[in-house]
Symmetry: C2
Protein backbone atom coordinates (compact mmCIF):
# COMPACT_ATOMS: atom_id res chain seq x y z
CA UNK A 1 0.00 0.00 0.00
CA UNK A 2 1.10 3.59 -0.63
CA UNK A 3 2.38 6.10 1.87
CA UNK A 4 0.11 7.23 4.64
CA UNK A 5 -0.27 10.83 5.78
CA UNK A 6 -2.10 11.96 8.94
CA UNK A 7 -3.07 15.63 8.67
CA UNK A 8 -5.67 18.14 9.83
CA UNK A 9 -9.06 17.62 8.19
CA UNK A 10 -10.22 20.20 5.64
CA UNK A 11 -13.82 20.98 4.59
CA UNK A 12 -13.41 18.89 1.43
CA UNK A 13 -12.73 15.81 3.62
CA UNK A 14 -16.18 15.99 5.25
CA UNK A 15 -18.03 13.67 2.80
CA UNK A 16 -15.42 10.93 3.29
CA UNK A 17 -15.39 11.36 7.07
CA UNK A 18 -19.19 11.23 7.31
CA UNK A 19 -19.27 8.13 5.07
CA UNK A 20 -16.94 6.40 7.56
CA UNK A 21 -19.00 7.57 10.57
CA UNK A 22 -22.11 6.08 8.94
CA UNK A 23 -20.43 2.79 7.87
CA UNK A 24 -20.56 1.36 11.37
CA UNK A 25 -23.11 -0.74 13.31
CA UNK A 26 -23.85 2.14 15.72
CA UNK A 27 -23.21 5.02 13.33
CA UNK A 28 -25.63 3.70 10.70
CA UNK A 29 -28.53 4.67 13.01
CA UNK A 30 -27.13 8.07 13.98
CA UNK A 31 -25.74 9.69 10.85
CA UNK A 32 -27.25 11.35 7.76
CA UNK A 33 -24.61 11.18 5.00
CA UNK A 34 -27.15 12.47 2.45
CA UNK A 35 -27.34 15.83 4.21
CA UNK A 36 -23.90 17.24 4.98
CA UNK A 37 -25.15 20.64 6.21
CA UNK A 38 -25.00 19.86 9.97
CA UNK A 39 -21.53 18.35 9.53
CA UNK A 40 -20.18 21.41 7.73
CA UNK A 41 -21.56 23.66 10.50
CA UNK A 42 -19.92 21.42 13.11
CA UNK A 43 -16.65 21.50 11.15
CA UNK A 44 -16.62 25.30 11.42
CA UNK A 45 -17.05 25.03 15.20
CA UNK A 46 -14.20 22.49 15.36
CA UNK A 47 -11.91 24.58 13.19
CA UNK A 48 -12.42 27.69 15.34
CA UNK A 49 -11.56 25.89 18.61
CA UNK A 50 -7.77 25.74 19.14
CA UNK A 51 -8.19 22.82 21.58
CA UNK A 52 -9.60 20.57 18.85
CA UNK A 53 -7.69 18.49 16.34
CA UNK A 54 -9.83 16.71 13.76
CA UNK A 55 -7.46 14.65 11.63
CA UNK A 56 -7.69 12.36 8.64
CA UNK A 57 -5.41 9.57 7.47
CA UNK A 58 -4.88 9.79 3.71
CA UNK A 59 -3.47 7.08 1.46
CA UNK A 60 -3.01 7.64 -2.28
CA UNK A 61 -5.29 10.67 -2.16
CA UNK A 62 -8.13 8.88 -0.36
CA UNK A 63 -9.32 9.53 3.19
CA UNK A 64 -9.06 6.16 4.94
CA UNK A 65 -9.28 7.06 8.62
CA UNK A 66 -10.19 9.80 11.07
CA UNK A 67 -10.23 10.75 14.72
CA UNK A 68 -10.87 13.79 16.89
CA UNK A 69 -8.55 14.80 19.72
CA UNK A 70 -9.64 17.35 22.35
CA UNK A 71 -7.14 18.97 24.72
CA UNK A 72 -8.72 19.55 28.15
CA UNK A 73 -6.95 21.55 30.85
CA UNK A 74 -8.01 20.76 34.41
CA UNK A 75 -7.24 21.11 38.10
CA UNK A 76 -7.26 17.48 39.19
CA UNK A 77 -4.08 15.36 39.28
CA UNK A 78 -1.99 18.43 40.19
CA UNK A 79 -3.33 20.59 37.39
CA UNK A 80 -2.91 17.99 34.66
CA UNK A 81 -4.01 18.61 31.11
CA UNK A 82 -5.62 15.54 29.56
CA UNK A 83 -6.74 14.66 26.05
CA UNK A 84 -9.88 12.91 24.89
CA UNK A 85 -10.10 10.80 21.75
CA UNK A 86 -13.48 10.62 19.97
CA UNK A 87 -14.80 9.48 16.62
CA UNK A 88 -12.11 6.96 15.66
CA UNK A 89 -12.96 5.39 12.30
CA UNK A 90 -11.01 3.28 9.79
CA UNK A 91 -12.30 2.73 6.26
CA UNK A 92 -13.62 -0.81 5.65
CA UNK A 93 -10.91 -1.41 3.02
CA UNK A 94 -8.18 -0.65 5.57
CA UNK A 95 -9.35 -2.74 8.53
CA UNK A 96 -6.63 -5.06 9.78
CA UNK A 97 -3.94 -2.91 8.11
CA UNK A 98 -2.65 -1.41 11.35
CA UNK A 99 -4.11 1.99 10.51
CA UNK A 100 -6.11 2.14 13.76
CA UNK A 101 -2.88 1.69 15.67
CA UNK A 102 -1.19 4.47 13.67
CA UNK A 103 -4.10 6.83 14.36
CA UNK A 104 -4.05 6.18 18.11
CA UNK A 105 -0.24 6.48 18.16
CA UNK A 106 -0.60 9.85 16.41
CA UNK A 107 -3.10 10.95 19.08
CA UNK A 108 -0.83 9.81 21.92
CA UNK A 109 2.19 11.56 20.38
CA UNK A 110 0.21 14.77 19.86
CA UNK A 111 -1.03 14.55 23.47
CA UNK A 112 2.59 14.37 24.66
CA UNK A 113 3.45 17.40 22.50
CA UNK A 114 0.60 19.26 24.24
CA UNK A 115 1.98 18.26 27.69
CA UNK A 116 -0.98 16.02 28.49
CA UNK A 117 -0.52 13.62 31.40
CA UNK A 118 -3.46 11.41 30.48
CA UNK A 119 -5.20 10.26 27.31
CA UNK A 120 -8.75 9.01 27.69
CA UNK A 121 -11.59 7.72 25.58
CA UNK A 122 -14.83 5.83 25.95
CA UNK A 123 -15.95 2.96 23.80
CA UNK A 124 -19.50 1.61 23.57
CA UNK A 125 -19.82 -1.51 25.75
CA UNK A 126 -20.82 -3.52 22.67
CA UNK A 127 -17.51 -2.84 20.83
CA UNK A 128 -15.57 -5.69 22.45
CA UNK A 129 -13.04 -5.90 19.59
CA UNK A 130 -12.24 -2.22 20.13
CA UNK A 131 -11.72 -2.84 23.84
CA UNK A 132 -9.07 -5.50 23.16
CA UNK A 133 -7.46 -3.11 20.65
CA UNK A 134 -7.16 -0.28 23.21
CA UNK A 135 -5.84 -2.66 25.88
CA UNK A 136 -3.14 -3.90 23.47
CA UNK A 137 -2.12 -0.24 23.01
CA UNK A 138 -1.63 0.16 26.77
CA UNK A 139 -4.95 1.70 27.77
CA UNK A 140 -6.61 0.51 31.01
CA UNK A 141 -10.38 -0.09 31.17
CA UNK A 142 -10.54 1.54 34.60
CA UNK A 143 -13.74 3.59 34.25
CA UNK A 144 -17.43 3.33 33.51
CA UNK A 145 -18.63 5.74 30.82
CA UNK A 146 -22.03 7.40 31.39
CA UNK A 147 -24.05 9.28 28.77
CA UNK A 148 -27.22 11.33 28.93
CA UNK A 149 -28.92 12.28 25.69
CA UNK A 150 -30.53 15.73 25.68
CA UNK B 1 -28.79 25.46 55.50
CA UNK B 2 -28.24 28.81 53.80
CA UNK B 3 -28.75 29.69 50.17
CA UNK B 4 -26.60 27.98 47.59
CA UNK B 5 -24.95 29.73 44.65
CA UNK B 6 -23.28 27.96 41.71
CA UNK B 7 -20.88 30.34 39.96
CA UNK B 8 -17.67 30.41 37.93
CA UNK B 9 -14.59 29.63 40.00
CA UNK B 10 -12.16 32.47 40.73
CA UNK B 11 -8.44 32.16 41.62
CA UNK B 12 -9.23 32.67 45.32
CA UNK B 13 -11.38 29.50 45.24
CA UNK B 14 -8.41 27.30 44.30
CA UNK B 15 -7.34 26.31 47.86
CA UNK B 16 -10.88 25.13 48.69
CA UNK B 17 -11.25 23.27 45.37
CA UNK B 18 -7.89 21.50 45.78
CA UNK B 19 -8.77 20.55 49.38
CA UNK B 20 -11.91 18.82 48.04
CA UNK B 21 -9.98 17.10 45.23
CA UNK B 22 -7.54 15.73 47.83
CA UNK B 23 -10.24 14.69 50.35
CA UNK B 24 -11.17 11.60 48.38
CA UNK B 25 -9.96 7.97 48.38
CA UNK B 26 -8.47 8.33 44.87
CA UNK B 27 -7.56 12.02 45.05
CA UNK B 28 -5.53 11.61 48.26
CA UNK B 29 -2.85 9.79 46.24
CA UNK B 30 -2.88 12.21 43.30
CA UNK B 31 -3.07 15.73 44.68
CA UNK B 32 -0.62 18.09 46.43
CA UNK B 33 -2.70 20.62 48.41
CA UNK B 34 0.47 21.96 50.08
CA UNK B 35 1.75 23.26 46.73
CA UNK B 36 -0.89 25.20 44.83
CA UNK B 37 1.44 26.40 42.06
CA UNK B 38 0.48 23.76 39.45
CA UNK B 39 -3.22 24.33 40.19
CA UNK B 40 -2.95 28.10 39.72
CA UNK B 41 -1.17 27.54 36.39
CA UNK B 42 -3.92 25.12 35.33
CA UNK B 43 -6.57 27.63 36.42
CA UNK B 44 -5.10 30.18 34.01
CA UNK B 45 -5.34 27.63 31.18
CA UNK B 46 -8.95 26.88 32.10
CA UNK B 47 -9.89 30.55 32.35
CA UNK B 48 -8.45 31.29 28.89
CA UNK B 49 -10.41 28.48 27.18
CA UNK B 50 -13.96 29.60 26.31
CA UNK B 51 -15.10 25.96 26.09
CA UNK B 52 -14.36 25.35 29.78
CA UNK B 53 -16.59 26.12 32.75
CA UNK B 54 -15.03 25.45 36.14
CA UNK B 55 -17.71 26.18 38.73
CA UNK B 56 -18.02 26.17 42.49
CA UNK B 57 -21.05 25.79 44.73
CA UNK B 58 -20.93 28.33 47.56
CA UNK B 59 -23.02 28.27 50.75
CA UNK B 60 -22.69 31.01 53.38
CA UNK B 61 -19.41 32.16 51.86
CA UNK B 62 -17.81 28.69 51.82
CA UNK B 63 -16.95 26.64 48.73
CA UNK B 64 -18.79 23.33 49.23
CA UNK B 65 -18.71 21.78 45.77
CA UNK B 66 -17.13 21.95 42.33
CA UNK B 67 -17.20 20.49 38.83
CA UNK B 68 -15.69 21.17 35.45
CA UNK B 69 -17.76 21.19 32.26
CA UNK B 70 -16.10 21.05 28.81
CA UNK B 71 -18.03 21.85 25.62
CA UNK B 72 -16.83 19.64 22.76
CA UNK B 73 -18.00 20.22 19.17
CA UNK B 74 -17.84 17.18 16.91
CA UNK B 75 -18.91 15.63 13.63
CA UNK B 76 -20.51 12.40 14.84
CA UNK B 77 -24.25 12.15 15.57
CA UNK B 78 -25.03 14.66 12.78
CA UNK B 79 -22.55 17.25 13.97
CA UNK B 80 -23.62 17.15 17.62
CA UNK B 81 -21.88 19.18 20.26
CA UNK B 82 -21.45 17.24 23.50
CA UNK B 83 -20.32 18.18 26.99
CA UNK B 84 -18.03 16.34 29.36
CA UNK B 85 -18.26 16.56 33.14
CA UNK B 86 -15.04 16.09 35.13
CA UNK B 87 -13.85 16.67 38.68
CA UNK B 88 -17.16 16.51 40.53
CA UNK B 89 -16.56 16.99 44.25
CA UNK B 90 -18.84 17.73 47.21
CA UNK B 91 -17.42 18.84 50.57
CA UNK B 92 -17.58 16.13 53.27
CA UNK B 93 -19.92 18.31 55.39
CA UNK B 94 -22.43 18.48 52.52
CA UNK B 95 -22.60 14.83 51.47
CA UNK B 96 -26.16 13.56 51.43
CA UNK B 97 -27.52 17.12 51.19
CA UNK B 98 -28.52 16.84 47.52
CA UNK B 99 -25.71 19.17 46.44
CA UNK B 100 -24.29 16.59 44.01
CA UNK B 101 -27.65 16.48 42.28
CA UNK B 102 -27.79 20.29 42.08
CA UNK B 103 -24.29 20.41 40.56
CA UNK B 104 -25.11 17.80 37.91
CA UNK B 105 -28.43 19.52 37.17
CA UNK B 106 -26.52 22.78 36.68
CA UNK B 107 -24.16 21.01 34.24
CA UNK B 108 -27.06 19.49 32.30
CA UNK B 109 -28.88 22.84 32.12
CA UNK B 110 -25.70 24.62 30.98
CA UNK B 111 -25.18 21.88 28.35
CA UNK B 112 -28.69 22.55 27.00
CA UNK B 113 -27.95 26.29 26.89
CA UNK B 114 -24.84 25.45 24.81
CA UNK B 115 -26.97 23.33 22.42
CA UNK B 116 -25.30 20.07 23.45
CA UNK B 117 -27.09 16.88 22.45
CA UNK B 118 -25.19 14.63 24.83
CA UNK B 119 -23.64 14.95 28.29
CA UNK B 120 -20.99 12.42 29.20
CA UNK B 121 -18.65 11.56 32.01
CA UNK B 122 -16.54 8.70 33.25
CA UNK B 123 -16.38 7.43 36.80
CA UNK B 124 -13.71 5.18 38.25
CA UNK B 125 -14.98 1.59 38.32
CA UNK B 126 -14.45 1.51 42.11
CA UNK B 127 -16.91 4.39 42.75
CA UNK B 128 -20.04 2.22 42.82
CA UNK B 129 -22.04 4.73 44.90
CA UNK B 130 -21.35 7.38 42.25
CA UNK B 131 -22.58 4.98 39.54
CA UNK B 132 -25.95 4.58 41.25
CA UNK B 133 -26.10 8.36 41.67
CA UNK B 134 -25.59 9.01 37.93
CA UNK B 135 -28.10 6.33 36.98
CA UNK B 136 -30.70 7.92 39.26
CA UNK B 137 -30.10 11.20 37.39
CA UNK B 138 -30.87 9.52 34.05
CA UNK B 139 -27.38 8.68 32.81
CA UNK B 140 -26.79 5.32 31.12
CA UNK B 141 -23.66 3.28 31.85
CA UNK B 142 -23.32 2.39 28.17
CA UNK B 143 -19.56 2.76 27.72
CA UNK B 144 -16.22 1.52 28.96
CA UNK B 145 -13.79 4.29 29.90
CA UNK B 146 -10.13 3.76 28.96
CA UNK B 147 -7.19 5.79 30.25
CA UNK B 148 -3.52 5.88 29.36
CA UNK B 149 -1.15 7.73 31.66
CA UNK B 150 1.69 9.54 29.91
Amino acid sequence: MGDLEIRRAAPEDIPAIVAMLADDPLGARRESPDDLTPYLTAFERLASDPHQRLVVAVREGSVVGTLQLTIVPGLSRRGSTRSIIEGVRVHADERGSGLGTLLIEWAVDESRRQDCRLVQLTSDATRTDAHRFYERLGFTASHVGFKLQL
